[in-house]
Symmetry: C2
Subunit: 309 residues, 2 copies
Amino acid sequence: MIVTLCGGVGAARFLAGAVQIMDPREITAIVNTGDDLVLHGLSISPDLDTVSYTLAGLNNTETGWGVTGESWRAMQRLGDLGGDAWFALGDLDLATHLFRSQLLAQGLTLAEATNALRRAMGIEVNLLPMSNDRVATKVTRRDTGDELDFQDYFVRHHHEPRLRSIRFEGAERATPGPGVLDALRDATRVVIAPSNPLVSLGPILAVPGIAEALRARRTETIAISPIVAGAALKGPAADMLSDLGHEVSVLGVARLYAPYAETFIIDAQDAHHEAGVVELGMKCIVTNTVMETPQIAAHLARVAMGDAS
Amino acid sequence: MIVTLCGGVGAARFLAGAVQIMDPREITAIVNTGDDLVLHGLSISPDLDTVSYTLAGLNNTETGWGVTGESWRAMQRLGDLGGDAWFALGDLDLATHLFRSQLLAQGLTLAEATNALRRAMGIEVNLLPMSNDRVATKVTRRDTGDELDFQDYFVRHHHEPRLRSIRFEGAERATPGPGVLDALRDATRVVIAPSNPLVSLGPILAVPGIAEALRARRTETIAISPIVAGAALKGPAADMLSDLGHEVSVLGVARLYAPYAETFIIDAQDAHHEAGVVELGMKCIVTNTVMETPQIAAHLARVAMGDAS
């Protein structure tokens, strides 16, 4: 049994690679829910949805997010009405949120609703939200000192504001989702997917019990750097690392993951950092981590699983 | 200032007639919210929406409900996922519910959200929900004795079950929406629209204070029969009247409205009941009430306003 700790797009691509080389039922994905939001009354779980759409083959490969063949009639009308339309919800995507919101309203937990969506989409990977409890990532702008909800910063403000701090509201009272600690304990391999270490992995590790469980599996844990050649492949990870005083390089990420992962996978473009990673007490694997094709993703998964390292 | 007490389609057609013959800003519509529901996390107000879509010229004249040019991508996907799709929400219609739900989540009252939607749709008639408080129409099936939410009975069960009783949950604790009692007090004419007397007018009259305010204006109040030639033009009014022991005729309706309305408008097909209505202590007007065209609706409005009686 393999466990992957996941944010959004990078993790989704990694999982899409992993299911090509092993039985998807042997994979458990523990997914960040710190980005979740309630908007227009709907419960939206962006990282769970990105992972789900990708594993279901429904992901929009043109935009890099959302659902293939999407349309925008509800959102266009909402904009015409003067409603909040900054968080784009396509007509097909809306069905996911309607489904989840209805199940939650009926009293199901987020884990149960996620499992129902997983089955409905024909996904065989075991998808676990990090917690059934509400954990909300909040960021404080450096310029104004205002605190923003994560999606407000990320989507509405196009992750342009520089940040002073990040916190995970509710994390201290949250408990790991059902199966999360068991999966970490029983895994033969734990993979920290190439996701944002601060706002994808950060919330997961902030749920009491998960960081401890992960540290106990350091030998079996391998992390993949989301930073390649000093930049993030996608999203604000580089700016965030810089804002919060971390080095924007694979070494900056390695320092964050060294307590949890014995092994660190870096891209061939960062091969010159190999010795630096080793100095941090980690094994270092250098390979192609930029998952531009399903073949590269499958190869990366094979490396991470230890079959081709 | 004219006040109309409204359910859905019949009231909407009447109002569409009324705005042809007078300044829409002189019309206040007090609308039933007993049919409202929260579904998939969304706050849905079917009667307010029917009235709004009709007054905005957005109503689907082919189906008789919903929005013109509607599409069903979200609902089809929701059905594919195995979600509850019995209450059909078109992509454009969804925008209304997203907008309302967001405003309510932001702390606006239903009256404030209704006013925002009204302005967004360019509607000049003053639309007032009967109450900001939740009043939920519940019906008890005669066969099983089970109590159903109104939309469960009306939509999911196609209003086929025969009924033992109807109640308006929460009505006893509800207060009239802002402006409702003032509008009734100040109106030069009050029109009870051709709506279901039991489940459209019933909830409005069940809100403490409204029935009393209406009785105080009996002289200025005129009701339009929703029953024509012993049948309902639309919906389950005839079956409901029968189930609950009322005569399924204009006389059955007249008995319900006699305490509130001095004048009763019946269709020419029911002219033979004129004397019976008068015996109940009401004035009776016989005209064409079947609003098959905007012209007929405008004529009916003119009759109701007292300009052509």
